[in-house]
């Protein structure tokens, strides 16, 4: 075996130990609720908890709303940048990267300052308004992932020529977007959607400071007061994230009728 290959395996093994040992330890700990034996009692407690169901449902609904708004915002923007405003690409990429460098806590304090109950748009004055504000916050947080996923999908097709071909055949903008562009960046959109779902499900800061009953604050609450349930919840959260990642791969590799990249 070549020397380089040995070091590659060493690096892989160290990486695997770094990632998997804590996970395995957490999983093993989550099974110790019943003294003297391994059991799924912690999972049973978590799944039977009304707050778990309510917070998971709340975050899931919010994640779906975030995905819909994010797709409607990002796909036309990325499409237009690719088609007509290529010079603006660096600026748009910079803007979409901002949520990675601006901490969520800064974002939420900004929101509270602008949209508080005595502002010109008092979104935090009602629960529904705060939900909407939280959803837009999630759109911002997921923007880097959604934009990149969609942009990669758009770059893999010849957007300009496909648009012109559709136009020359008599298609108007809605037909071009929904019959030609959306289906051809479907895998990109779904990748962005699953990443968004994973982000929203685990997000704590925005939901906690806006005082909404989301899954992230619930995780924190359980973690602060229980012993075995937080470990079970951590494994459940991992499973949800992995399921999302698996679906991205499944969708990406199984996109029907997709041509090889140009």
């Amino acid at each position: 075996m070549k020397r380089g290959r040995v070091w590659s395996w060493v690096a892989i093994i160290i990486g695997a130990i770094y990632f998997f040992v804590p996970l395995i330890a957490t999983f093993e700990f989550s099974l110790r609720m019943r003294r003297g034996t391994h059991s799924f009692d912690a999972y049973a407690v978590v799944f039977s908890d009304q707050r778990f169901q309510a917070s998971f449902l709340y975050s899931s609904v919010l994640a779906l709303a975030t995905i819909v708004v994010g797709v409607l915002l990002v796909v036309p923007t990325a499409y237009w940048v690719e088609l007509r405003l290529r010079r603006l690409r660096p600026l748009v990429e910079f803007i979409t990267l901002l949520p990675l460098v601006i901490p969520a806590i800064v974002l939420v304090f900004g929101y509270l300052r602008i949209y508080n109950s005595s502002s010109w748009l008092p979104l935090t004055a009602s629960e529904r308004g705060t939900d909407i504000l939280l959803m837009f916050g999630y759109v911002s947080l997921s923007l880097p992932y959604m934009y990149r996923a969609v942009d990669t999908g758009l770059r893999a097709i010849d957007v300009r020529t496909l648009t012109e071909a559709a136009e020359s055949l008599g298609a108007k903008w809605p037909a071009i977007l929904f019959r030609v562009i959306f289906p051809n960046v479907r895998s990109g959109i779904l990748s962005g959607a699953f990443l968004t779902f994973a982000i929203v499900i685990g997000e704590f800061t925005l939901a906690s400071l806006l005082d909404r009953p989301a899954f992230g604050p619930y995780l924190q609450l359980i973690g602060a007061n229980r012993a075995y349930e937080p470990a079970a919840l951590a494994i459940i959260a991992f499973a949800v994230t992995w399921a999302c990642m698996g679906l991205i791969n499944l969708v990406g590799s199984g996109a029907r009728g997709t041509a090889p990249a140009r």
Binding site: A165, A166, S168, L169, V180, N184, R256, G257, T258, A259
Partner: protein, 357 residues
């Protein structure tokens, strides 16, 4: 009145004027090629006809109607792109049906038209395939069917054969021409390949630097180029420097050998430097009789090209290339051998000015 009329068309991008005063009248059912080097403005004119570019000035009329400001989706113009531009998410049948679906045609009409188009391009069994499952030639035929399915007034072909290999290119250009003739559709074909333009077109528009250099039938363009650019761009051409000897008799000197030009010396003065052009196929190695021109020289190069043998004969400063048919019974001459080349006086084109094209 012409079916497609383009008047005083101009297009400026920033400081660059890419199309300058373009005038063209195309009759219904005509097959016109825009021929020129990269960057000559031919694709820009095509894109203005399609509606993808807005002219800086000028007008485009189709069947008497001014379409200059109409968006592409209201022009009823079919376009075939170099990169095929088939929709990857749709089957072949889906692609062909797309234009009819967005026009909300009845389902029965769409099905019948798709079947008709697939038969026309000789791919009736491939309706359920996706574009990535087809060869380049098949994809381009589907693109042609898709463009024709909407029964366009004009068919625009933007270098549709450039991405294909040589054999398929030849067979597909014959197919395109046959389909065009059968449907009688007015067609504009953009290419930088002179062989494609000459073999397919009713008329050729030769363009250079945003201007029309010459419009004519392939025969006219090839045999009677009006400008130095057309002479050099279309076909292979020998350009020789000469000195006018006696304009009245039409005599000129090439490397101290006197020959006669039957035209093109009106207004020339004795002693003036000129350029003359001669097609390779007009020059013969055989000793000619009558009033043909003869030049004595030495065989400098012999290139065997299969059916054709290209021979270069040097006189002194000047040289000509000539083409002869390959014949197994008559092997090509040896390099260094002295020879006499002959050509008809009518085949000698006297160009303006002395510089080679």
């Amino acid at each position: 009145m012409a079916f497609l009329s383009i008047q005083e068309l101009r297009k400026v991008f920033g400081a660059a004027s890419v199309v300058q005063k373009f005038d063209l009248a195309v009759e219904r059912g005509e097959f016109i090629s825009f021929l020129g080097p990269s960057g000559c403005g031919k694709t820009t004119v095509l894109r203005m006809i399609a509606g993808f570019e807005r002219p800086t000035s000028g007008a485009i009329r189709v069947d008497g109607k001014n379409v200059t400001d109409l968006p592409p989706n209201r022009r009823n113009v079919g376009m075939v792109f170099q990169a095929y531009a088939l929709f990857p998410n749709m089957t072949v049948a889906g692609n062909v049906a797309f234009g009819l679906k967005v026009a909300h045609r009845p389902q029965s009409e769409i099905a019948a038209r798709v079947e008709e188009m697939l038969k026309l391009i000789k791919l009736p069994a491939l309706g359920n395939r996706y574009p990535y499952q087809l060869s380049g030639g098949q994809q381009q035929r589907v693109a042609l069917a898709r463009a024709l399915a909407i029964k366009p007034q004009i068919l625009l072909l933007d270098e549709p054969l450039s991405a294909l290999d040589a054999k398929i290119r030849v067979s597909l250009r014959e197919e395109i021409r046959t389909v065009q003739r059968n449907l009688g559709i007015t067609t504009i074909f953009v290419t930088h390949d002179q062989e494609e333009a000459l073999s397919m077109s009713d008329r050729v528009v030769v363009m250079n630097e945003g201007r029309i250099e010459q419009i004519g039938t392939p025969f006219e363009i090839y045999n009677y180029p009006r400008t130095r650019f057309v002479a050099s761009f279309v076909g292979t051409l020998n350009i020789l420097q000469c000195r006018v000897a006696d304009p009245a008799r039409g005599t000129i000197m090439i490397d101290e050998q006197e020959i006669v030009a039957s035209r093109g010396l009106n207004g020339a003065k004795a002693g003036e430097l000129r350029s003359v052009a001669l097609r390779p196929e007009a020059v013969s190695l055989r000793e000619a009789n009558g009033d043909w021109n003869r030049l004595r020289g030495t065989i400098e190069e012999v290139s065997f090209l299969g059916a054709i043998v290209r021979i270069r004969v040097r006189f002194k400063e000047s040289a000509v290339s000539l083409d002869t048919f390959n014949s197994p019974g008559a092997p090509p001459p040896e390099r260094g051998q002295s020879t006499i080349v002959s050509f008809a006086r009518d085949d000698l084109l006297v160009l303006d000015g002395a510089e080679p094209a």
